[in-house]
Amino acid sequence: MYFCTDFKDTVICSKMQRKTLVRILSVLLFIGSFSAVAQDHGMDVKEIAPGKEGNKTKKEEIKEFINHHLLDSHSFNLFGSTDEETGETHHYGFPLPVIIWDEGLHTFMSSEFGHGDEIVESNGKYYALHHEKIYRTDAQGTLNYDAEHGDHPTNVRPLDFSITKSVVMMLVVGLLLIWLFRSLAKSYAKNGSLPKGIGRFFEPIVLYIRDDIAIANIGEHKYKKYLPFLLTIFFFIWFLNMFGLTPLGVNVTGNIAVTTALAIIVFLITTFTGTKDYWKHIFDPLGSGMPWAGKILIYIILVPIEILGLFIKPFALLIRLYANMTAGHVVLMSLIGLIFIFKSWIGGPLSFGLSFAISLIELLVALLQAYIFTMLAALYFGFASETHAEHEAHEGEIQHL
């Protein structure tokens, strides 16, 4: 928002769009570097508080911290600090509501778990938190393990509908998107169909998605039906990715449940908007180009592959986004962890420099993954909404994909 009010003259402002972009990027980079520093800080706290679990090596501790970071959480921790004298760790943040369906509805605040080591009694049932998962337990808080499940307790896991950290972030991003684009929509009415303020930055992106993703992949006639979805999913993923890089560091798009949900929505839209030609292409790809006797032999192999393709496409979407975001976070956190392993004048700055560089790359990845998800979703919609006439025209484009 600041970058347009800087220039009073709107004409100059439009000419400065390139410059503005550079400025925004530099601000984002700054945030990225800040996140690296902040995560440093988080590590630091853990590092000087070996207290409770005693003799873990630093490497194990870092690994655990990274795993913990990648997981969803039932409370919103901002930062923690350790009392030097008593060795106690204090966490600063706020608790979030826990909602469990376990033969009845149980609701309480996550603060009742303490720091994850207390048993909560709700309507005669006992619950314990283990690695951010809620298990049903008894009054003593026993967790049973067996060889088959390894690290995971075999206790019953009730259906957990808690408002977790990720859900909060999704709500925040949702509200941010509504506010942002509602104000852009309103600025058109006020400003003679010219965008104003931050809309100047986002309008070209909206237009890019319309022209180069929706129209290019779906076609002039049908893109309107899919465009709201494409715009929403692009900005939703992008913003969540960006929030993942802030000091809040919430890894929402690196969560398999989130990407699965998004991929299932894409799958449902593709399936329910599929035209006759789309289904014909799957079950009768060769059409009348070949006698039925010849077709049967090929179709035994071809049709199952096409049907499998229906499910593989969204599955690839969900795995791609999940893996990319998780990998980015793991690499970033590991590089930051190196600082505490090296603990030297050379290793520290080196790791910091590396993690800073990776942060920059992660900023690009955040945008790229949102773009790829949207692009592929548009491509699948394009396949689904194709009619025969357009099919001929598209053939050339599809072949080189």
Partner: protein, 166 residues
């Protein structure tokens, strides 16, 4: 894979679907539709403006062509008028010349006639005077001769000298 399955949180999945669908509906109604409509309107506006500019340019060209044509016509007309005027002028001059010449001829002829008649009358008068003078001289000569021969002769000489002056 086992880790993935274990990490899969149904609650988060549930909330994600609810939030996303809600977000999609809200954004579609309150943001994307107005934004895209406004952008479309703007693009249409630009297209129309360009079209009408093109049209205006064409009209302008037509107008210019018309003007040029009118100018040409006017020029041609002027040319014709000039030519006619020149012809009229030449004709008028030649007419006037002819008329003047005729008039002059007539005047000259009249003058010649008048001169002729004057001459004739002058000659006639001269003849008469000569005759009268001759008679008078003859009379005087006769009279003088009758008185003195010498005198008469002298007189005749005198008379003759006078007659020369006449």
């Amino acid at each position: 894979m086992e880790k993935l399955v274990n990490d899969f949180s149904f609650g988060l999945f549930f909330w994600q679907i609810i939030i996303f669908v809600l977000l999609l509906i809200l954004l579609r109604k309150y943001a994307w539709k107005p934004i895209l409509n406004a952008v479309n309107e703007r693009e249409e506006g630009i297209k129309n403006a360009l079209d009408s500019a093109e049209k205006a340019k064409l009209e302008m060209q037509n107008l210019q062509a018309d003007n040029e044509k009118l100018l040409q016509e006017a020029r041609a007309e002027r040319e014709v008028m000039m030519k006619e005027a020149r012809e009229i002028k030449a004709k008028m001059i030649s007419d006037a010349k002819e008329e003047a010449k005729a008039e002059a001829d007539k005047t000259i002829a009249q003058a010649q006639a008048a001169i002729e008649s004057e001459k004739k009358s002058a000659i006639a008068e001269l003849k008469q005077q000569v005759a009268e003078l001759s008679l008078e001289i003859a009379e005087k000569v006769v009279k003088h001769e009758l008185s003195d021969k010498d005198k008469q002769l002298k007189l005749v000489d005198e008379m003759l000298g006078d007659a020369k002056l006449n």
